[in-house]
């Protein structure tokens, strides 16, 4: 358990350092995830403790957004200024992104399973 937590933090740390040094446009934890993924591929299996820690973290993922979410409070003024275009843009674009992604992916999956037969 302790080793697993240390491993995850080490991956994140290595990610952060690399991102800073190479001035990459995405955050350290994303690179840390890639590092851990490559490590797992090399090892070929997930160590027991690591599975437990990741299950715990991901099962409660929603909670982790609450502190940042409350920060919306600090932006009431900014959002209030353009609230109508903002809300319309967010609702329409999020709906479109969901629909387009689901439509394309299920069409491609269907196409593939048909060509496999």
């Amino acid at each position: 358990m302790l080793q697993a937590i240390t491993l995850i933090l080490l991956c994140q740390l290595a990610g952060e350092i690399t991102v800073q040094m190479l001035d990459l446009p995405f955050p350290g934890p994303v690179l840390g995830m890639l590092l851990l993924f490559v490590g797992l591929m090399v090892r070929g299996e997930i160590p027991d403790g690591l599975k437990q820690v990741s299950d715990f973290l991901l099962r409660h993922l929603a909670l982790l957004f609450v502190p940042a979410g409350v920060g919306l409070m600090a932006h009431f003024g900014l959002v209030a200024r353009d609230w109508m275009p903002i809300l319309a843009a967010l609702v329409v674009s999020t709906a479109l992104a969901l629909v387009v992604t689901m439509a394309i992916l299920s069409a491609l999956i269907r196409f593939r399973s048909r060509s496999d037969e």
């Binding site: 990610g15 993924f37 993922l61 959002v79 969901l98 999956i109």
Partner: protein, 243 residues
């Protein structure tokens, strides 16, 4: 008695313990309440917690910085949780590899649609330029989105707020759209939710199934990485932003 209470409150309100505990208590209460009310997504536990905590902070006259001093311990776990997404990705690596090409095509199109439609819609409705630039990266997980906004000349703090709203809206819309489109494949549901509603969508997808969660993690990473690389190049061609 009253004075004593004020003293204790003054001590507690300034300590990280109170707001850390309060966040957990409010979240657990929201989960319970959401379940009692039939699990409606309009009352998503995260949204409910946010609203309740904002209310508590406003009522007690506590500013966000004081709150965050305590809540940052929870916020910090976002980094390790992102790293931990490697585990479901690894567990589902065979399924992902089988669908690599469809996932890349759907992911790239979805990410472009999310950014372009948001900017165009807001342009038509007359939002100002800074709002537009802050709006473009909104479908991406907040640390990436804030970095992009800074790079293209938007307001990172406004982007952070828009990212959160997008996540919340995605959580409310996705069950409805999934039902309307008759999608039954958890891989498709999860991938679209992670791609269009980042961590919020991913959290919700883990509630559907482990498969949906793994594909949501993939959608989240793909949207983040692609938007980070593509958006700065694509943006000048969008109407309303050509300078």
């Amino acid at each position: 008695m009253n004075e004593e209470f004020i003293d204790i409150w003054a001590f507690l309100a300034a300590s990280p313990l109170l707001w850390l505990t309060m966040t957990l208590v409010v979240f657990l209460a929201s989960l319970w309440l959401n379940r009692r009310l039939g699990g409606s997504m309009v009352l998503h536990p995260v949204l409910l917690s946010m609203a309740l905590l904002m209310g508590i902070l406003l009522l007690t006259g506590t500013d966000y910085d004081t709150y965050f001093d305590g809540a940052q311990f929870i916020h910090f776990m976002l980094g390790p949780a992102t790293v931990a997404l490697a585990i479901p990705l690894f567990e589902f690596r065979h399924e992902i590899r089988k669908l690599l090409f469809p996932l890349l095509i759907a992911g790239m199109t979805g990410a472009c649609v999310a950014a372009a439609s948001a900017v165009m819609m807001a342009t038509v409705l007359g939002a100002d330029r800074v709002t537009l630039l802050s709006l473009a990266p909104k479908s991406v997980t907040s640390p990436i989105a804030m970095g992009i906004a800074e790079k293209i000349g938007g307001l990172p703090s406004l982007t952070a707020a828009l990212v959160l709203l997008t996540g919340a809206i995605g959580c409310m819309l996705s069950p409805l759209l999934i039902r309307l489109m008759g999608i039954e494949d958890d891989r498709v549901k999860g991938f679209a939710m992670g791609l269009s509603a980042h961590g919020f969508g991913t959290a919700q997808a883990f509630g559907i199934s482990a498969t949906a969660g793994a594909f949501a993690g993939l959608g989240l990473s793909l949207a983040g990485i692609m938007t980070a690389f593509l958006l700065p190049g694509v943006l000048p061609w969008l109407p309303g932003l050509s300078s």
